[in-house]
Subunit: 428 residues, 3 copies
């Protein structure tokens, strides 16, 4: 019975057009140009590398796209069990008329050629958007992105702040900041002024959120100007910081950004728990992992200090999901946000979705974002999520709580899209 | 098939009368007087606050009960998905003849008036107890509770010790201790004597357990009199303790209480993992959260030192459940106890129940307690638990292990009630 | 539908003969001689002890096997709900023609006598192996095991290194090392040479892996000879080490062993997370527990330093499974390995299996090992795992991903056996 109900709910959810509230799309090159853009996504390169393909074969300089795909294909058999592979298969079928059950050394080349033909069509980007039912795609922009050359009402800017919080000690980052803000900070106050300019620039260009990914060790605290001053001075003189100074600088910048989120009325997407470059010899974007020993209690001071800022929070480890549920249940400014990266796997999505639907106000849950680098990925990722959401809704609400299907579908639509509009602002 | 089996088992479990081994009932005002007593429960106020209702609207001094409910009702739509809301709906239907699918601005007033009529009946408390099938309700009494004015065979006293362990540095707590024990401790030995009087008083009044909630950072250790002496002296002179002294004092008092649990043969309910006042601007009782980075290894010394004391242990985070299962599997004095607070949500109850039933001796599991502040809550909370328990029993024992229904129901009854009697003492 | 599919897949998996890649079998006495060898397994003694049976009744010196069983039997009713008990029942039925639903004070004696008759047959060991479908059984040998007197092609040696890494400060361990390597190390270099001899000896005798169990606090780091020298000197002079020196010594030995794993091409089984002797008054082998606050990030340096060594990793806490999945997804040298001890319970096996099958390359997953001390345990333990694996395969691959049964069964066989052969070397 619940399988029939799941299908009934799923059909309704599939009729809903989507807003994707967190991606890494480059709006100047949103869609893929070749299959290598899809299979070059780190999910495939890192899994193939993990299964045995040498990094040098994947990242050889000047590698031809078709050659790259031909090197990855033999390894697909070793990862065909993964959810990530299922996305590849679904993309191949939905976008490129692929008919087989698996991508093999025998059939990949026709898939490659077919997909190349499709992707070469003038309106490929629009075809993908239409087939995927996307009304808006949120970006994750570098702080010095000019935000020009694309329609910011469709490709919605979002200010990514990792570099500012964690990498000001790199010359290149400071230079980018100086250039983009036409300033040359020498103390904490001047750094704050420079950062303010970024918010002016981004909000003038329809930005809807500030975003950052945070290591498990990070714990935001306010830092007063007097404390920050010498450290800001030092780093902008190009001097090295010790690790304690680096922490204080990160806290100062982070806190300042949050103050501007309050002032400029931007939600601050916190993506909590990633350790960068854990596997140093890994492929591009396939080097990061995590330490599950992180707690939202580290954000206590922040959450109390900024009741007026909405924090859509993503956690990397599923062992953090119950904390996220509990903090969103108690703190008005905490919103649950999607299923991130290592937790973006059916078994964790299903369990985490249940917890959120059972204990967090329905208006405070952003169901899903694709985190995609290329447009084609929204379709299979949202499809995966929708199937799980439909199953949870059927089992937990229609069967267990005797909700009717109509009301249950309404809840699903709120989670899937409605809350994105109310939390980040409606599609314009 | 398993759904039919679940129903068959559920009917049997529903026929069982209950003992509720942990509540916060005030035996002088056990049942609700108005719907505000129910909807004023922190689960609703904190969720409404989390969804957007201002604290000042909820906690306005002198607020009329009906007005309070009228302010909460519009927010119920935002939390209708939650398990907590499902309890409210079930109470409304079972106790107040509510017929609709949801409580809305259109129908709440008749619900309020109907419920007021019911609650105003002379024997309302007895009606609730009868409909809920409750044979006994355990309390959580302040250490200076006179324990008079109610039937301690029905409302069973339990010595709550949070204030003693963590708040002796507050003048009001020391004064309450002095008054209730007719003593004025100046050193560790005298403090021990004062505490002994509390155990004499409580056990003379049918107390069946000592109880405490503990922060994630707490780790019990024995403290000798010589070490404790100056700290006890200092605190009873009203001087401030530094954080290290406070820890030692807490450990000394906690260890002393456990010694008395051994001497007076009381189980010691440990409720592990809560951080108090995390959300400082939250509503009453809606401020506490937790840090999942806690381990039962912190209780190693205690569990080894007191083999003669039974410790029914509740954990706040579901990430602690497997540890609880493992420690109860190995330590004779560890008993699994209910599904506490942020883990009292179907998805966690189901998973945690499976783990316990699959690996802990069946005689060492206390299935459930309501944790309620008002009597009406036992019905929907136990109902929720029973449905989950029936499902787990049907799937894991009848289907997977080929147990017959009769034997399976016996296991369910043991978990639901039998163990409460053997662990805390039979209903008298 | 999925139940029918599960049965269909299960039948196929049951037809597969097995290699058990991690056991504690003594090849000179592999099978049980009496039922006391089975019921004396720590799973039953520790659960009976936890339920109330005194340790002195279980471990009385000189206790007759039949008397021992007679003392345990009355407690079986208290643990009949556990997975561990279900293994006992399945062994009794499969090996000893036991027909009843439970083992009671009324029927245990005939079970004892029947089993004694069976076990006394000349070829009992062969009967068990045949009925269990075992092609190979991996051992866990002390480093000074002569590895003679048994067929190492069937009972495959594996070098257990706990004593070397954590107990060199014990005189008896150093004496065993000196004797088995015919050496008397006085410095780090000489200790390395002695350890090399162990690898020569083990690999000459068909050893297929090095193995170790590790406490939650351990974090491998390289230690240079100059740092190690004085500590090695000190410990081999019989002097006490402080805890910092002990840590450095453990790190030095562990790192050296890993270097030899690289040189001798042995996988290194890491079993991460056990705290020894937590319950000091527990029964034999029933004293160990854990601290879930452990992370694979502690192994970052190691995993980066030894890309050429395969690390089949087992984690004790299910809260570590997602980290294991993620690290195996990224690191080519990390393989997921079985379901260990406190996580070897259906609810955790099922969840953990889903996570692994959904996100780790299929070639990097060793499904199961029995961890058994006596041969009879492989049958019920593998049977339990196979049932769960079949259920997950049916639900997640046939139903959700539309795989056909044949392909799904192939995946199951790879997880269950194929990967054992490729990772440790084929059955010879």
């Amino acid at each position: 019975m619940s399988q029939q109900l799941t299908r009934e709910i799923l059909v309704e959810l599939e009729s809903l057009r989507l807003i994707d509230p967190h991606t890494h799309i480059n709006p100047m090159a949103a869609a893929s140009k070749t299959l290598a853009d899809i299979m070059g996504y780190h999910y495939y390169t890192e899994l193939a590398h993990s299964a045995g393909l040498a990094k040098s074969r994947i990242e050889e300089p000047g590698l031809d796209p078709k050659e790259k795909v031909s090197r990855l294909v033999p390894w697909l058999a070793t990862i065909e069990n993964t959810a990530q592979y299922s996305w590849l298969l679904e993309m191949s079928r939905e976008f490129f008329d692929f008919q087989d059950d698996q991508i093999t050394e025998a059939n990949w080349e026709s898939l490659y050629d077919n997909s190349l033909k499709k992707m070469s069509e003038d309106n490929w980007e629009q075809q993908v958007l239409e087939k995927s039912g996307l009304d808006q795609v949120y970006l994750t922009n570098d702080f010095d992105d000019p935000l020009t050359g694309f329609d910011t009402r469709f490709y919605v800017p979002c200010l990514r702040t990792d570099d500012l919080v964690f990498h000001l000690s790199k010359t290149v980052v400071r230079e980018r900041l100086k250039k983009s803000t036409d300033s040359s900070p020498t103390n904490a106050e001047e750094l704050k002024s420079a950062l303010a300019k970024l918010f002016v620039h981004f909000t003038a260009n329809n930005a809807r959120a500030c975003a950052i990914s945070l290591p498990p060790s990070f714990a935001p605290e306010p830092v007063d100007l007097a404390t920050a001053d010498p450290i800001v001075g030092k780093v902008f003189q190009g001097k090295d910081l010790d690790s304690k100074e680096q922490t204080v600088l990160s806290q100062f910048v982070f806190w300042t950004l949050t103050e501007y989120c309050a002032e400029f009325k931007l939600p601050f997407d916190l993506m909590i728990g990633v350790n960068r470059r854990v596997f140093e010899a890994g492929v591009f974007q396939g080097q990061d992992l995590y330490d599950k020993r992180v707690s939202l209690i580290q954000y206590k001071t922040l959450l109390n200090a900024f009741p007026q800022v909405t924090f859509p929070i993503s956690v990397l480890s599923e062992t953090s999901n119950q904390e996220l549920v509990s903090y969103a249940w108690i703190f008005p400014n905490v919103v649950t946000n999607g299923h991130w990266w290592y937790s973006n796997i059916p078994v964790y999505i299903e369990n985490d979705t249940r917890g959120r639907l059972q204990a967090v106000p329905k208006t405070k849950q952003i169901g899903y974002y694709s985190d995609m680098y290329k447009l084609e990925f929204a379709l299979p990722k949202f499809a995966m999520y929708r199937r799980i959401l439909a199953k949870v809704l059927a089992e937990d609400f229609v069967v267990r709580r005797n909700w009717n299907v109509e009301k249950t579908v309404e809840l699903g639509k709120l989670i899937l899209r409605g809350n994105v509009e109310t939390i980040f602002g409606e599609a314009s």
